[in-house]
Symmetry: C2
Subunit: 179 residues, 2 copies
DNA sequence: GCCCGGGTGTCCGAATTCGGACAGCGCCGC
DNA sequence: GCGGCGCTGTCCGAATTCGGACACCCGGGC
């Protein structure tokens, strides 16, 4: 069964949106299109990669809006891969994009196959990053402590016993995790 | 769906085995009978409670064989509940049985309802202990480290990164877990 | 009303872990 | 052949965690 992938495309140009959807859509692949960057971060948890334009306002060319959207996406889900695109761009902008955390940089107009490959690589990186966060020992420990406390209804003595910790040690871990 | 429980009965007396199987068997309940304690620890992972006779050799009355079997079962699976039974027994033997880690002590002949309840309570305790070991932070950490090393094919640097540890810290945890 | 058991939160000298740094190895590209 | 990069394993002064112990609280049983 092919896994479902979900891309988000953000561009103010309806023709570009349409072209991107056509270039990327495929079996087991959902492409959502947004015409403006407002509120795009709400989409972050549900998608695997984002293709984000850098300029939206008429006449804007400096990419500030794209950088802002990138920052908000990364704040919402640091594991999510974002690809930035623009028509007006050079090496300097591309370097800055990657420095700010984009995983790739695409110039318009694009070759469809290259764009599809770029987005596939971005989605794979998102998956790897998300899998990685499932292995983070701090996160794992915090979830285990939460489950033990829930199981024993806040009884720290019994939760510590089941976790294999002493009570003072559990108190310190709870404090470190903000529990 | 009724959960399947599995009991192990160990007794050299075929009539006792038969009576126990009849007393305990029920829907979604498997009772396995062994006529001798040799190799009983191999059954430990697959069962939920054990009813273990204390004497097997002709004329034996001191329960040593039962204590030995108990020790081997507990070494194989510390979470498994073992109920010891005997014909010749008093307070002293019962106390010693529980001190050595048995969860209950049954005198032959038994009341079927009481035996069934004893085994149900033992199985519930096994389940609780096994659930608890799923929350043990040491065990959880060890599994996460194993998964990270497998994911990155033994690359300690990358495994450390994904676990959120420094390399020396991961080396220490690996050593502590015998990995 | 009292006592006991099981819980709470915290302390502090002892014990352990920490991570930047070091030295070395192997592979790959030039 | 050489250099660079990424990996390895280990070290040690600094930092942190440890857990037995303490004092206290509360509820239940007698």
């Amino acid at each position: 069964m092919a896994s479902n992938l979900s891309y988000l495309i953000v561009d103010d140009d309806a023709d570009v949106l349409k072209a991107a959807v056509m270039a990327l859509a495929g079996p087991a692949l959902v492409v959502e299109a947004l015409a403006a960057p407002e509120g795009l971060e709400a989409r972050a948890p549900a998608c695997d990669a984002v293709l984000l334009d850098m300029n939206f306002a008429a006449g804007a060319r400096d990419g500030a809006e794209g950088f802002d959207g990138l920052a908000r996406l990364r704040a919402a889900d640091p594991a999510l891969s974002v690809v930035l695109m623009t028509t007006y761009g050079g090496v300097k902008l591309a370097v800055e994009a990657l420095k700010q955390g984009a995983v790739d940089f695409v110039l318009k107009p694009w070759r469809n196959e290259a764009l599809a490959e770029t987005m596939r690589a971005a989605a794979a990186l998102t998956a790897e990053r998300r899998a990685g966060s499932q292995l983070n020992l701090d996160a794992i420990e915090r979830r285990a402590i939460e489950r033990a406390l829930a199981l024993y209804e806040g009884n720290v003595s019994r939760a510590a016993a089941v976790l294999g910790l002493t009570r003072p040690a559990l108190y310190r871990r709870m404090e470190r995790h903000g529990l």
